[in-house]
Point group: C2
Chain length 413, copies 2
DNA sequence: GAAGCTAAATCCAATGGATGGAGTAAGTCA
DNA sequence: TGACTTACTCCATCCATTGGATTTAGCTTC
């Protein structure tokens, strides 16, 4: 299909989504204000709002002070209007959240995955935990729209599969979408973690995250999520936002694509820790509290993070080096996409936010377009630690209620 | 406005655009085939086609052989249904074309700009030439939709201005859009040259350029145009596709942003010629027929191009070096956008197509996503030399007849 | 060559969302 | 209390799409 045509019922749904979106992002608004905001007439807004009220998605939440006539009735989204489950899948654990329409996390859980060898077992375990978590929140099951999955590594979008996700030993091409759909009996959506995080940011960030932005996700590796004109970019295969192959200042590390100037190998806790040993010596590292064994990456990273906070120059130096490379990649990406906002998030960001922000901000604002035409702001995620899982849940909310968007989903078997 | 709502008449226009687009890209098609192609019912297709026939935009061009019943009536776009003027503005000359709805160039002209010091004079001169050219083609003036401009260098999209275009001495912030609108009395659209070229490619390339692709434009410098899901990406300021600040293997050249690893300074005829002198010596260069003065860039480039064609190893080496850097940038961009097609064009491509294609193809296909999930094809423009100007004209055609697109234009004063 | 069949295209009444105009509800101000 | 302002709603109308039925025009068979 070259591009799909439209029909009347779809127009209704679309406008309903537009109005809901406007109410969500503009906070409590009145019907009158919604008209210019959406480009619809006030009558249409009234009609659409009536439907939204009936559907339980918004509520009348008060009045604005009068400006000489009848007071405006303010409309707010109803958090209890809809819910979604979000799952962030990582090699060692899965984070599960239940999120309401306002993006608030009702409950969350972390399921350890001791041996992620067998996909079917992992899916069963995680889906079961998700189901129990949902039951525990006591929300109306009829209002739970579905489950979103933030998967690491490359995905085969059209097939709904992950393909050789890093650190999942023995996982080849696993049709996660179908497996989860079967296990949960709900609609399922899947995207890579960075893209999911970007959607979450867009969904929850309101006015601050309207328009276009580049989300840089720092987890085990780096990834990016791209939101353009309020729509997420998925790409031909569902892998838009691959950030690891952006070229940067070369060093000694080799990417699996054969290059020595790919960003990927130079970021992530393991790489930064190795850099500390390499360039500042074992003694400095041990003085900062690291141990340097492959198993201790998690603890070592915490130590390094704390060293950074303490002001340890060596620790700050290696982080800054990594940040500089991220900045180089970000500069290219921002210029290419012409976005005026960069958002940072992911669990690895914790403790190194300021260095990252500084370096990235300097890099992206060095181009002439940025200097002369529009500056670029660099900010932290408004969601925080759980961006991945919340983003995953947002996949469902966004897919159901965002205007003009096709969800990457498959109905339950 | 968060995002605009729709209404019924707009649906009509939209579907009309969808059907026209389908007819254009699918060649001669019947109404029955259009139905599944557009997702519309056969009745709607009939209605829409009736309107398109009345508007003179398509015609019934024959019949398909019967498959047991009534023959299908084939529909084709009518080239004489609409026309547009395209202007590619370069420091030394402007190329003007008149294009019909099928994308065929009816007539073209090259206007030399001896001293592009005064913007107003340049606009007057070029607009006059465009008007005379249009008159010469004897097309129905009522069917000329407007003028598209492919501008070099950064633009301020919302303001419709170019900002300090390179090699236009004395040009600061020039509101070209308004100036041309006033001078021509027609609707005017403007974009940077690479983006315009990408739209042209999309508009004219039919099925081969459907979906998403990255267009790499080699002119005096490098630029990129981005088409995602049949829609061009403009970006927040109208500068999407800036390719010169993508990070690549660093060298001795410094970008105006201060970096030594920006792609920009390493490509373009002047840079490649300089590299030949630098790395292979004056003798080799002169043996290849170059002279090496700043004024002779144009001739030197021709000589270098011919040397490449002859198989001169030094010439091939410097071109391959530049191509390799373009490939590095392209690799990152392709991974970021997740497109499965790269298209090359621009006047500097001439003579070095094969080296460029080779290097870029190798680079973009080195990532794991490319290897495991989908390979990436690298091709030359289907338009050829005049991509810029034809693309400029396509801005108007695409803006008027492509579904779901807002034109960057301003009505005549 | 007439009847039967098939496929393409159109006709027609119904559907349903948006809209313009008028009307109502609920405030402020003097 | 009455004039006025503003927010919102009611209602008749409009119009693109749609499902169902119909017409048009070819092929095939007897």
């Amino acid at each position: 299909m070259t591009q799909g045509g439209t029909n009347l019922p779809r127009v209704g749904d679309y406008n309903q989504a537009v109005v809901l979106d406007a109410i969500r992002t503009a906070g409590p608004v009145s019907r009158v204000e919604l008209a210019p905001l959406t480009g619809l007439t006030s009558q249409t807004v009234s009609n659409v709002v009536r439907r939204l009220l009936a559907a339980g998605l918004v509520s009348e939440s008060g009045f604005a002070p009068s400006s000489g006539g009848k007071r405006r009735t303010l409309l707010s989204p109803r958090p209890d209007g809809a819910y979604a489950v979000g799952i962030q899948l990582d090699p060692d654990a899965a984070v599960i959240v239940v999120v309401d329409l306002a993006g608030e996390v009702l409950d969350s859980r972390r399921v350890r995955l001791p041996d992620p060898g067998d996909p079917a077992a992992v899916v069963a375990r995680v889906a079961g935990a998700a189901q129990r978590l949902t039951a525990r929140t006591r929300v109306d099951p009829a209002r739970v729209l579905g489950t979103g999955i933030a998967a690491p590594g490359p995905i085969d979008g059209p097939a709904g599969a992950v393909v050789k996700p890093p650190n999942f030993a023995g996982w080849g091409r696993v049709p996660l979408l179908g497996l989860f759909a079967e296990a949960t009996g709900m609609p399922v959506a899947m995207d890579n973690d960075a893209t999911a995080a970007a959607i979450g940011e867009r969904w929850i960030g309101g006015r601050q995250r309207a328009g276009s932005f580049l989300f840089i996700y720092l987890g085990t590796g780096v990834g990016a999520g791209i939101v353009l004109n309020n729509t997420v970019l998925r790409g031909d295969s569902g892998n838009a936002g691959e950030f690891g192959h952006m070229a940067v200042e070369p060093g000694e590390l080799t990417c699996d694509c054969g290059g020595t100037n790919c960003l990927g190998p130079y970021v992530g806790p393991a790489a930064i820790i190795a850099d500390l040993y390499d360039r500042h010596g074992k003694e400095t590292a041990e003085r900062a509290g690291l141990t340097g064994t492959p198993e201790s990456v998690h603890d070592d990273w915490r130590a390094l993070r704390q060293a950074v906070r303490r002001g340890d120059p060596a620790a700050q130096d290696v982080v800054r080096h990594a940040a500089r490379r991220v900045g180089q990649a970000a500069k290219g990406a921002v210029a290419l996409l012409d976005v005026s906002r960069v958002v940072l998030g992911g669990e690895t960001l914790r403790g190194i936010e300021s260095i990252m922000c500084e370096e990235i901000e300097a890099a992206v604002n060095s181009t002439s377009v940025a200097r002369v035409i529009r500056p670029i702001t660099v900010e932290k995620s408004v969601i925080g630690e759980a961006v991945g899982a919340v983003g995953a849940a947002s996949l469902i909310l966004h897919g159901t209620y965002a205007p003009g968007w096709q969800m990457l989903t498959r109905p339950p078997a």
